[in-house]
Amino acid sequence: MHEIAAIVRKDVRIELRSRVVITQVLPFAMIVLILFGLALDADRSTLRSFTPGLFWVTVLFASILAIQRSVSVETAASAFEALRLSGAAGWKVFVGKAVAVAAQLIAIETAMLGGVIVFYRSSVDEVVLLVTSALAATLAIAAAGSLYGVLAVGSGVRDTILPMLLLPILAPVLVAATRAFGDAMGATAVNGWSWCALLACFALLYGLVGGIAYGVVLEDA
Protein backbone atom coordinates (compact mmCIF):
# COMPACT_ATOMS: atom_id res chain seq x y z
CA MET A 1 0.00 0.00 0.00
CA HIS A 2 2.85 2.33 0.62
CA GLU A 3 3.69 2.13 -3.08
CA ILE A 4 0.32 3.70 -3.84
CA ALA A 5 0.95 6.45 -1.31
CA ALA A 6 4.42 6.97 -2.73
CA ILE A 7 3.04 7.49 -6.22
CA VAL A 8 0.27 9.84 -5.11
CA ARG A 9 2.76 11.81 -3.03
CA LYS A 10 5.20 11.94 -5.94
CA ASP A 11 2.62 13.14 -8.47
CA VAL A 12 1.18 15.74 -6.11
CA ARG A 13 4.65 16.97 -5.25
CA ILE A 14 5.60 17.27 -8.91
CA GLU A 15 2.41 19.18 -9.63
CA LEU A 16 2.94 21.53 -6.71
CA ARG A 17 6.44 22.31 -7.96
CA SER A 18 5.77 22.46 -11.69
CA ARG A 19 2.23 23.85 -11.41
CA VAL A 20 1.28 22.65 -14.88
CA VAL A 21 -2.31 21.75 -14.03
CA ILE A 22 -2.96 24.91 -12.04
CA THR A 23 -1.49 27.27 -14.58
CA GLN A 24 -2.47 25.56 -17.83
CA VAL A 25 -5.29 23.06 -17.48
CA LEU A 26 -7.41 25.02 -15.05
CA PRO A 27 -7.35 28.21 -17.13
CA PHE A 28 -8.17 26.09 -20.18
CA ALA A 29 -11.28 24.79 -18.45
CA MET A 30 -12.38 28.29 -17.49
CA ILE A 31 -11.79 29.53 -21.03
CA VAL A 32 -13.93 26.73 -22.42
CA LEU A 33 -16.75 27.68 -20.05
CA ILE A 34 -16.46 31.28 -21.16
CA LEU A 35 -16.41 30.30 -24.82
CA PHE A 36 -19.56 28.26 -24.38
CA GLY A 37 -21.19 31.25 -22.76
CA LEU A 38 -20.15 33.50 -25.62
CA ALA A 39 -21.18 31.07 -28.32
CA LEU A 40 -24.57 30.31 -26.90
CA ASP A 41 -25.31 33.97 -26.37
CA ALA A 42 -28.27 32.88 -24.31
CA ASP A 43 -30.39 34.42 -21.68
CA ARG A 44 -30.02 33.54 -18.06
CA SER A 45 -32.50 30.69 -17.84
CA THR A 46 -31.13 28.91 -20.91
CA LEU A 47 -27.58 28.96 -19.61
CA ARG A 48 -28.77 27.68 -16.27
CA SER A 49 -30.43 24.68 -17.84
CA PHE A 50 -27.40 23.99 -20.00
CA THR A 51 -24.95 24.28 -17.11
CA PRO A 52 -24.72 20.60 -16.15
CA GLY A 53 -23.96 19.53 -19.71
CA LEU A 54 -21.48 22.30 -20.40
CA PHE A 55 -19.80 21.65 -17.07
CA TRP A 56 -19.18 17.99 -17.70
CA VAL A 57 -18.15 18.36 -21.32
CA THR A 58 -15.55 20.86 -20.14
CA VAL A 59 -14.42 18.45 -17.44
CA LEU A 60 -13.94 15.77 -20.07
CA PHE A 61 -11.78 18.08 -22.18
CA ALA A 62 -9.75 19.09 -19.14
CA SER A 63 -9.34 15.46 -18.12
CA ILE A 64 -7.73 14.68 -21.47
CA LEU A 65 -5.08 17.28 -20.73
CA ALA A 66 -4.66 16.17 -17.13
CA ILE A 67 -4.17 12.56 -18.18
CA GLN A 68 -1.72 13.45 -20.90
CA ARG A 69 0.23 15.43 -18.31
CA SER A 70 0.13 12.50 -15.87
CA VAL A 71 1.56 10.23 -18.54
CA SER A 72 4.18 12.64 -19.82
CA VAL A 73 5.58 13.07 -16.31
CA GLU A 74 6.51 9.41 -16.51
CA THR A 75 7.72 9.31 -20.10
CA ALA A 76 9.95 12.37 -19.55
CA ALA A 77 11.79 10.45 -16.86
CA SER A 78 11.69 7.13 -18.74
CA ALA A 79 9.91 6.10 -15.60
CA PHE A 80 7.62 3.45 -17.04
CA GLU A 81 10.67 1.32 -17.63
CA ALA A 82 11.96 2.05 -14.15
CA LEU A 83 8.53 1.15 -12.77
CA ARG A 84 8.74 -2.18 -14.54
CA LEU A 85 12.21 -2.74 -13.12
CA SER A 86 11.06 -1.86 -9.62
CA GLY A 87 8.76 -4.84 -9.65
CA ALA A 88 5.86 -2.86 -8.23
CA ALA A 89 2.47 -4.45 -8.90
CA GLY A 90 0.65 -2.94 -11.85
CA TRP A 91 -2.57 -2.29 -9.99
CA LYS A 92 -0.78 -0.28 -7.33
CA VAL A 93 0.74 2.02 -9.93
CA PHE A 94 -2.72 2.33 -11.48
CA VAL A 95 -4.44 3.28 -8.23
CA GLY A 96 -1.73 5.78 -7.37
CA LYS A 97 -1.83 7.49 -10.77
CA ALA A 98 -5.64 7.50 -10.88
CA VAL A 99 -5.98 8.99 -7.40
CA ALA A 100 -3.49 11.71 -8.27
CA VAL A 101 -5.38 12.58 -11.48
CA ALA A 102 -8.69 12.52 -9.60
CA ALA A 103 -7.32 14.96 -7.03
CA GLN A 104 -6.25 17.34 -9.79
CA LEU A 105 -9.65 17.06 -11.48
CA ILE A 106 -11.47 17.76 -8.22
CA ALA A 107 -9.44 20.93 -7.84
CA ILE A 108 -10.36 21.96 -11.37
CA GLU A 109 -14.03 21.13 -10.86
CA THR A 110 -14.18 23.18 -7.69
CA ALA A 111 -12.91 26.21 -9.53
CA MET A 112 -15.28 25.49 -12.39
CA LEU A 113 -18.21 25.34 -10.01
CA GLY A 114 -17.38 28.84 -8.95
CA GLY A 115 -17.15 29.73 -12.60
CA VAL A 116 -20.61 28.46 -13.54
CA ILE A 117 -22.17 30.11 -10.54
CA VAL A 118 -20.69 33.41 -11.65
CA PHE A 119 -20.92 33.14 -15.42
CA TYR A 120 -24.02 31.05 -15.88
CA ARG A 121 -25.74 32.22 -12.73
CA SER A 122 -26.47 28.67 -11.66
CA SER A 123 -27.28 27.73 -8.13
CA VAL A 124 -26.86 24.55 -6.17
CA ASP A 125 -29.95 23.08 -4.55
CA GLU A 126 -28.65 19.80 -3.24
CA VAL A 127 -25.05 20.05 -2.19
CA VAL A 128 -24.69 16.45 -1.04
CA LEU A 129 -25.95 15.08 -4.34
CA LEU A 130 -23.70 17.42 -6.24
CA VAL A 131 -20.57 16.51 -4.32
CA THR A 132 -21.26 12.77 -4.32
CA SER A 133 -22.01 12.54 -8.00
CA ALA A 134 -19.04 14.74 -8.86
CA LEU A 135 -16.80 12.46 -6.82
CA ALA A 136 -18.14 9.31 -8.43
CA ALA A 137 -17.94 10.73 -11.93
CA THR A 138 -14.41 12.03 -11.34
CA LEU A 139 -13.23 8.65 -10.09
CA ALA A 140 -14.72 6.96 -13.14
CA ILE A 141 -13.05 9.47 -15.46
CA ALA A 142 -9.71 9.23 -13.64
CA ALA A 143 -9.75 5.43 -13.64
CA ALA A 144 -10.69 4.99 -17.28
CA GLY A 145 -8.40 7.84 -18.26
CA SER A 146 -5.37 6.47 -16.43
CA LEU A 147 -5.76 3.14 -18.17
CA TYR A 148 -6.24 4.66 -21.59
CA GLY A 149 -3.42 7.11 -20.97
CA VAL A 150 -0.96 4.27 -20.66
CA LEU A 151 -2.56 2.50 -23.61
CA ALA A 152 -1.94 5.58 -25.68
CA VAL A 153 1.76 5.65 -24.80
CA GLY A 154 3.80 3.45 -27.06
CA SER A 155 1.46 3.76 -29.95
CA GLY A 156 3.06 6.14 -32.34
CA VAL A 157 0.25 8.67 -32.25
CA ARG A 158 -0.09 9.26 -28.53
CA ASP A 159 -1.63 12.73 -28.37
CA THR A 160 -4.33 12.27 -30.94
CA ILE A 161 -5.36 8.72 -30.11
CA LEU A 162 -6.22 9.34 -26.46
CA PRO A 163 -9.38 11.44 -26.97
CA MET A 164 -10.52 9.12 -29.75
CA LEU A 165 -10.30 6.11 -27.46
CA LEU A 166 -11.39 7.63 -24.17
CA LEU A 167 -14.28 9.94 -24.97
CA PRO A 168 -16.69 7.41 -26.54
CA ILE A 169 -16.12 5.13 -23.55
CA LEU A 170 -16.95 7.99 -21.18
CA ALA A 171 -20.13 8.99 -23.02
CA PRO A 172 -22.40 7.15 -20.56
CA VAL A 173 -20.55 8.78 -17.66
CA LEU A 174 -21.16 12.16 -19.27
CA VAL A 175 -24.87 11.46 -19.58
CA ALA A 176 -25.22 10.23 -16.02
CA ALA A 177 -23.18 13.06 -14.51
CA THR A 178 -25.16 15.63 -16.44
CA ARG A 179 -28.47 14.22 -15.24
CA ALA A 180 -27.26 14.06 -11.62
CA PHE A 181 -26.04 17.64 -11.76
CA GLY A 182 -29.26 18.66 -13.40
CA ASP A 183 -31.19 17.46 -10.40
CA ALA A 184 -28.72 18.90 -7.91
CA MET A 185 -28.86 22.31 -9.55
CA GLY A 186 -32.57 22.35 -9.96
CA ALA A 187 -32.21 22.56 -13.72
CA THR A 188 -34.15 19.43 -14.60
CA ALA A 189 -36.63 17.26 -12.79
CA VAL A 190 -35.00 13.84 -12.67
CA ASN A 191 -34.08 11.49 -9.89
CA GLY A 192 -30.46 12.53 -9.40
CA TRP A 193 -29.61 9.87 -6.87
CA SER A 194 -30.29 6.98 -9.21
CA TRP A 195 -27.99 8.64 -11.73
CA CYS A 196 -25.43 9.03 -8.97
CA ALA A 197 -25.70 5.32 -8.25
CA LEU A 198 -25.04 4.62 -11.92
CA LEU A 199 -21.93 6.80 -11.70
CA ALA A 200 -20.75 4.80 -8.73
CA CYS A 201 -21.18 1.65 -10.84
CA PHE A 202 -19.00 3.10 -13.55
CA ALA A 203 -16.37 4.18 -11.05
CA LEU A 204 -16.28 0.69 -9.60
CA LEU A 205 -16.20 -0.91 -13.04
CA TYR A 206 -13.33 1.16 -14.39
CA GLY A 207 -11.46 0.90 -11.13
CA LEU A 208 -11.59 -2.89 -11.30
CA VAL A 209 -10.87 -3.13 -15.01
CA GLY A 210 -8.02 -0.65 -14.76
CA GLY A 211 -6.45 -2.46 -11.85
CA ILE A 212 -6.56 -5.77 -13.68
CA ALA A 213 -5.39 -4.51 -17.06
CA TYR A 214 -2.81 -1.91 -16.04
CA GLY A 215 -0.05 -4.39 -15.29
CA VAL A 216 -0.36 -5.93 -18.74
CA VAL A 217 -0.35 -2.59 -20.49
CA LEU A 218 2.56 -1.28 -18.43
CA GLU A 219 4.78 -3.96 -19.96
CA ASP A 220 4.79 -2.24 -23.32
CA ALA A 221 4.64 1.37 -22.18
Binding site: L151, P168, P172, N191, F202, L205, A213
Partner: protein
Protein backbone atom coordinates in the same frame (compact mmCIF):
# COMPACT_ATOMS: atom_id res chain seq x y z
CA UNK B 1 35.63 -20.28 -30.61
CA UNK B 2 33.75 -17.88 -32.76
CA UNK B 3 30.29 -18.02 -34.23
CA UNK B 4 27.75 -20.66 -33.42
CA UNK B 5 26.32 -22.67 -36.23
CA UNK B 6 23.14 -21.59 -37.94
CA UNK B 7 20.18 -23.03 -36.09
CA UNK B 8 16.68 -23.82 -37.18
CA UNK B 9 14.76 -20.88 -38.62
CA UNK B 10 12.00 -19.37 -36.52
CA UNK B 11 9.28 -20.29 -38.96
CA UNK B 12 10.13 -23.97 -38.99
CA UNK B 13 7.23 -26.21 -38.26
CA UNK B 14 4.55 -24.06 -39.81
CA UNK B 15 2.75 -25.02 -43.03
CA UNK B 16 3.90 -23.11 -46.11
CA UNK B 17 1.97 -19.95 -46.85
CA UNK B 18 -0.28 -19.77 -49.89
CA UNK B 19 -0.44 -16.18 -50.99
CA UNK B 20 -2.63 -16.72 -54.05
CA UNK B 21 -5.89 -15.78 -52.39
CA UNK B 22 -8.26 -16.36 -49.53
CA UNK B 23 -11.06 -18.18 -51.33
CA UNK B 24 -11.81 -21.85 -50.89
CA UNK B 25 -14.62 -24.25 -51.81
CA UNK B 26 -16.28 -23.53 -48.46
CA UNK B 27 -16.36 -19.80 -48.91
CA UNK B 28 -17.55 -20.12 -52.48
CA UNK B 29 -20.55 -22.15 -51.38
CA UNK B 30 -21.11 -19.74 -48.52
CA UNK B 31 -21.02 -16.80 -50.90
CA UNK B 32 -23.44 -18.40 -53.32
CA UNK B 33 -25.80 -19.26 -50.50
CA UNK B 34 -25.66 -15.69 -49.26
CA UNK B 35 -26.39 -14.28 -52.70
CA UNK B 36 -29.34 -16.60 -53.17
CA UNK B 37 -30.49 -15.69 -49.69
CA UNK B 38 -30.40 -12.00 -50.52
CA UNK B 39 -32.56 -12.61 -53.55
CA UNK B 40 -35.03 -14.62 -51.49
CA UNK B 41 -35.08 -11.94 -48.82
CA UNK B 42 -35.80 -9.25 -51.40
CA UNK B 43 -38.71 -11.26 -52.71
CA UNK B 44 -40.13 -11.78 -49.27
CA UNK B 45 -39.51 -8.24 -48.14
CA UNK B 46 -40.86 -6.40 -51.13
CA UNK B 47 -43.32 -8.71 -52.78
CA UNK B 48 -44.68 -11.34 -50.48
CA UNK B 49 -44.98 -9.54 -47.18
CA UNK B 50 -47.48 -6.85 -46.59
CA UNK B 51 -47.11 -3.25 -45.53
CA UNK B 52 -47.97 -2.54 -41.96
CA UNK B 53 -51.50 -1.22 -42.05
CA UNK B 54 -53.83 -1.49 -39.14
CA UNK B 55 -57.16 -0.08 -38.28
CA UNK B 56 -57.02 1.92 -35.11
CA UNK B 57 -60.08 0.74 -33.09
CA UNK B 58 -60.61 4.14 -31.48
CA UNK B 59 -60.41 6.46 -34.41
CA UNK B 60 -61.15 4.09 -37.26
CA UNK B 61 -58.23 5.48 -39.23
CA UNK B 62 -55.68 3.33 -40.95
CA UNK B 63 -52.37 3.66 -39.11
CA UNK B 64 -49.04 1.92 -39.14
CA UNK B 65 -45.71 2.08 -40.83
CA UNK B 66 -47.02 1.14 -44.25
CA UNK B 67 -44.21 0.29 -46.56
CA UNK B 68 -41.52 1.59 -44.29
CA UNK B 69 -41.84 -1.55 -42.21
CA UNK B 70 -39.98 -3.45 -44.90
CA UNK B 71 -36.76 -2.02 -43.52
CA UNK B 72 -37.44 -4.09 -40.42
CA UNK B 73 -36.13 -7.15 -42.21
CA UNK B 74 -32.78 -5.47 -42.83
CA UNK B 75 -32.35 -3.23 -39.84
CA UNK B 76 -33.07 -5.69 -37.05
CA UNK B 77 -30.66 -8.44 -38.18
CA UNK B 78 -28.01 -5.87 -39.04
CA UNK B 79 -28.42 -4.25 -35.63
CA UNK B 80 -27.88 -7.46 -33.68
CA UNK B 81 -24.70 -8.48 -35.49
CA UNK B 82 -22.35 -5.79 -34.11
CA UNK B 83 -23.06 -7.05 -30.61
CA UNK B 84 -22.07 -10.52 -31.74
CA UNK B 85 -19.00 -9.25 -33.55
CA UNK B 86 -17.71 -7.11 -30.71
CA UNK B 87 -18.33 -9.90 -28.25
CA UNK B 88 -16.04 -12.02 -30.38
CA UNK B 89 -13.48 -9.22 -30.29
CA UNK B 90 -13.70 -9.00 -26.52
CA UNK B 91 -13.50 -12.77 -26.15
CA UNK B 92 -10.50 -12.86 -28.48
CA UNK B 93 -8.89 -10.22 -26.31
CA UNK B 94 -9.42 -12.27 -23.20
CA UNK B 95 -7.86 -15.31 -24.86
CA UNK B 96 -4.87 -13.29 -26.04
CA UNK B 97 -4.23 -12.05 -22.52
CA UNK B 98 -4.71 -15.45 -20.97
CA UNK B 99 -2.59 -17.40 -23.37
CA UNK B 100 0.21 -14.94 -23.95
CA UNK B 101 0.34 -13.25 -27.30
CA UNK B 102 2.84 -15.59 -28.92
CA UNK B 103 0.50 -18.57 -28.98
CA UNK B 104 -2.67 -16.52 -29.28
CA UNK B 105 -2.15 -15.17 -32.78
CA UNK B 106 -5.24 -17.00 -33.99
CA UNK B 107 -7.38 -15.25 -31.38
CA UNK B 108 -5.83 -11.88 -32.09
CA UNK B 109 -6.51 -12.11 -35.82
CA UNK B 110 -10.06 -13.28 -35.12
CA UNK B 111 -10.62 -10.37 -32.77
CA UNK B 112 -9.39 -7.89 -35.36
CA UNK B 113 -11.46 -9.43 -38.14
CA UNK B 114 -14.57 -9.40 -35.98
CA UNK B 115 -14.02 -5.76 -35.09
CA UNK B 116 -13.73 -4.74 -38.73
CA UNK B 117 -16.86 -6.60 -39.77
CA UNK B 118 -18.59 -5.35 -36.65
CA UNK B 119 -17.80 -1.72 -37.42
CA UNK B 120 -19.17 -2.24 -40.91
CA UNK B 121 -22.43 -3.62 -39.58
CA UNK B 122 -22.62 -0.99 -36.85
CA UNK B 123 -22.36 1.70 -39.48
CA UNK B 124 -25.07 -0.01 -41.52
CA UNK B 125 -27.22 -0.21 -38.40
CA UNK B 126 -26.99 3.52 -37.90
CA UNK B 127 -27.75 4.27 -41.53
CA UNK B 128 -30.67 1.87 -41.88
CA UNK B 129 -31.92 3.00 -38.51
CA UNK B 130 -31.91 6.61 -39.58
CA UNK B 131 -33.62 5.81 -42.88
CA UNK B 132 -36.24 3.79 -41.10
CA UNK B 133 -36.73 6.33 -38.34
CA UNK B 134 -37.26 9.34 -40.56
CA UNK B 135 -40.67 8.50 -41.96
CA UNK B 136 -41.92 6.95 -38.74
CA UNK B 137 -40.61 9.21 -35.99
CA UNK B 138 -40.19 12.25 -38.17
CA UNK B 139 -36.60 12.67 -37.09
CA UNK B 140 -33.19 11.47 -38.19
CA UNK B 141 -31.90 11.19 -34.65
CA UNK B 142 -33.13 11.25 -31.06
CA UNK B 143 -30.74 11.84 -28.19
CA UNK B 144 -32.77 10.27 -25.43
CA UNK B 145 -32.79 6.81 -26.94
CA UNK B 146 -30.58 4.24 -25.24
CA UNK B 147 -30.26 1.91 -28.20
CA UNK B 148 -29.32 4.68 -30.56
CA UNK B 149 -26.69 5.96 -28.18
CA UNK B 150 -25.28 2.50 -27.58
CA UNK B 151 -25.08 1.78 -31.29
CA UNK B 152 -23.32 5.05 -31.93
CA UNK B 153 -21.01 4.53 -28.98
CA UNK B 154 -20.06 1.02 -30.07
CA UNK B 155 -19.42 2.23 -33.59
CA UNK B 156 -17.05 4.94 -32.34
CA UNK B 157 -15.36 2.75 -29.74
CA UNK B 158 -14.44 0.04 -32.21
CA UNK B 159 -13.55 2.50 -34.91
CA UNK B 160 -11.06 3.71 -32.32
CA UNK B 161 -9.97 0.12 -31.75
CA UNK B 162 -9.14 -0.22 -35.44
CA UNK B 163 -7.33 3.11 -35.49
CA UNK B 164 -5.36 2.04 -32.43
CA UNK B 165 -4.30 -1.22 -34.03
CA UNK B 166 -3.00 0.61 -37.06
CA UNK B 167 -0.69 2.64 -34.84
CA UNK B 168 1.28 -0.38 -33.68
CA UNK B 169 3.45 -2.28 -36.13
CA UNK B 170 4.77 -4.90 -33.69
CA UNK B 171 2.46 -7.91 -33.59
CA UNK B 172 2.86 -9.02 -29.97
CA UNK B 173 2.48 -5.53 -28.53
CA UNK B 174 -0.46 -4.84 -30.78
CA UNK B 175 -2.20 -8.05 -29.76
CA UNK B 176 -1.87 -7.41 -26.04
CA UNK B 177 -2.78 -3.75 -25.99
CA UNK B 178 -5.64 -3.89 -28.44
CA UNK B 179 -6.96 -6.84 -26.41
CA UNK B 180 -7.41 -4.47 -23.48
CA UNK B 181 -9.10 -1.86 -25.66
CA UNK B 182 -11.36 -4.50 -27.19
CA UNK B 183 -12.41 -5.83 -23.79
CA UNK B 184 -13.04 -2.47 -22.16
CA UNK B 185 -15.11 -1.43 -25.16
CA UNK B 186 -17.73 -4.02 -24.41
CA UNK B 187 -17.50 -3.99 -20.68
CA UNK B 188 -19.91 -1.18 -19.91
CA UNK B 189 -22.59 -2.49 -22.27
CA UNK B 190 -24.38 -4.55 -19.60
CA UNK B 191 -24.50 -1.55 -17.29
CA UNK B 192 -25.65 0.80 -20.00
CA UNK B 193 -28.38 -1.58 -21.07
CA UNK B 194 -29.57 -1.99 -17.50
CA UNK B 195 -29.62 1.74 -17.16
CA UNK B 196 -32.67 1.69 -19.40
CA UNK B 197 -34.56 1.17 -16.19
CA UNK B 198 -33.15 4.42 -14.93
CA UNK B 199 -33.66 6.21 -18.20
CA UNK B 200 -36.31 8.81 -17.76
CA UNK B 201 -37.38 9.56 -21.31
CA UNK B 202 -39.46 7.00 -22.95
CA UNK B 203 -37.25 5.94 -25.76
CA UNK B 204 -38.38 5.92 -29.31
CA UNK B 205 -37.54 2.24 -29.52
CA UNK B 206 -39.97 1.50 -26.76
CA UNK B 207 -42.58 3.50 -28.49
CA UNK B 208 -41.76 1.74 -31.69
CA UNK B 209 -44.31 -0.22 -33.48
CA UNK B 210 -42.18 -3.27 -33.07
CA UNK B 211 -44.27 -4.24 -30.09
CA UNK B 212 -47.43 -2.80 -31.41
CA UNK B 213 -47.43 -4.64 -34.65
CA UNK B 214 -47.99 -8.31 -34.66
CA UNK B 215 -44.98 -10.16 -35.88
CA UNK B 216 -46.38 -13.36 -37.19
CA UNK B 217 -46.70 -15.54 -40.25
CA UNK B 218 -45.06 -13.98 -43.24
CA UNK B 219 -43.55 -11.10 -41.32
CA UNK B 220 -41.92 -13.48 -38.90
CA UNK B 221 -40.71 -15.69 -41.69
CA UNK B 222 -39.20 -12.77 -43.56
CA UNK B 223 -37.49 -11.61 -40.41
CA UNK B 224 -35.99 -15.06 -39.87
CA UNK B 225 -34.80 -15.15 -43.45
CA UNK B 226 -33.23 -11.76 -42.84
CA UNK B 227 -31.34 -13.10 -39.84
CA UNK B 228 -30.08 -16.09 -41.80
CA UNK B 229 -28.99 -14.07 -44.81
CA UNK B 230 -27.11 -11.44 -42.88
CA UNK B 231 -25.64 -14.13 -40.69
CA UNK B 232 -24.26 -15.80 -43.80
CA UNK B 233 -22.83 -12.53 -45.07
CA UNK B 234 -21.26 -11.94 -41.68
CA UNK B 235 -19.57 -15.33 -41.63
CA UNK B 236 -18.38 -14.97 -45.22
CA UNK B 237 -16.78 -11.60 -44.46
CA UNK B 238 -15.23 -12.92 -41.26
CA UNK B 239 -13.63 -15.90 -42.93
CA UNK B 240 -12.06 -13.84 -45.67
CA UNK B 241 -10.85 -11.14 -43.32
CA UNK B 242 -9.38 -13.73 -40.99
CA UNK B 243 -7.51 -15.40 -43.81
CA UNK B 244 -6.02 -12.13 -44.93
CA UNK B 245 -4.82 -11.51 -41.39
CA UNK B 246 -3.34 -14.99 -41.22
CA UNK B 247 -1.44 -14.50 -44.45
CA UNK B 248 -0.09 -11.21 -43.13
CA UNK B 249 1.14 -13.02 -40.05
CA UNK B 250 2.86 -15.72 -42.11
CA UNK B 251 4.50 -13.13 -44.33
CA UNK B 252 5.92 -11.47 -41.25
CA UNK B 253 7.37 -14.69 -39.88
CA UNK B 254 9.03 -15.60 -43.16
CA UNK B 255 10.52 -12.15 -43.36
CA UNK B 256 11.96 -12.57 -39.90
CA UNK B 257 14.10 -15.56 -40.80
CA UNK B 258 15.63 -13.68 -43.68
CA UNK B 259 16.27 -10.73 -41.39
CA UNK B 260 18.01 -12.91 -38.83
CA UNK B 261 20.35 -14.35 -41.43
CA UNK B 262 21.14 -10.89 -42.69
CA UNK B 263 21.83 -9.66 -39.19
CA UNK B 264 24.21 -12.46 -38.35
CA UNK B 265 26.06 -11.81 -41.61
CA UNK B 266 27.06 -8.46 -40.19
CA UNK B 267 29.09 -10.32 -37.59
CA UNK B 268 30.86 -12.45 -40.19
CA UNK B 269 32.08 -9.46 -42.10
CA UNK B 270 33.71 -8.37 -38.84
CA UNK B 271 32.24 -4.91 -38.77
CA UNK B 272 34.25 -2.66 -36.49
CA UNK B 273 36.07 -5.36 -34.57
CA UNK B 274 39.83 -5.33 -34.91
CA UNK B 275 41.04 -8.90 -34.71
CA UNK B 276 44.63 -8.25 -35.65
CA UNK B 277 45.72 -6.47 -32.49
CA UNK B 278 47.28 -8.59 -29.81
CA UNK B 279 45.79 -8.08 -26.37
CA UNK B 280 48.15 -8.84 -23.51
CA UNK B 281 46.76 -10.72 -20.57
CA UNK B 282 43.93 -12.30 -22.54
CA UNK B 283 43.87 -15.67 -24.18
CA UNK B 284 41.54 -16.56 -26.97
CA UNK B 285 39.30 -19.44 -26.12
CA UNK B 286 36.72 -19.99 -23.48
CA UNK B 287 33.90 -22.41 -23.94
CA UNK B 288 31.16 -20.20 -25.26
Amino acid sequence: MTITNQSAPVSQGQPPADFSGTASPTTRWLGVAALIGVAVLLVFAFVLSEPDQRLDPDTNIVIGQFDAVRLLYVHVPVAILPYLAFSITALGGVMVLLKGSASATWWDITAAAAAEVGVLFAGLTLITGMIWGRPIWNTWWEWGDVRLMTSLMLFLVYLGYLAYRRAMPVAETRARRSAVVGIVGMINIPIVNRSVEWWENRTLHQKSTLTEMKIEDLTLLSLIIGFVVFGLIFVWLMVHRFRIGWLEHQAETVGLDAAIMQRRAQAMTGTGVDESVDHPGLTKGGDQ
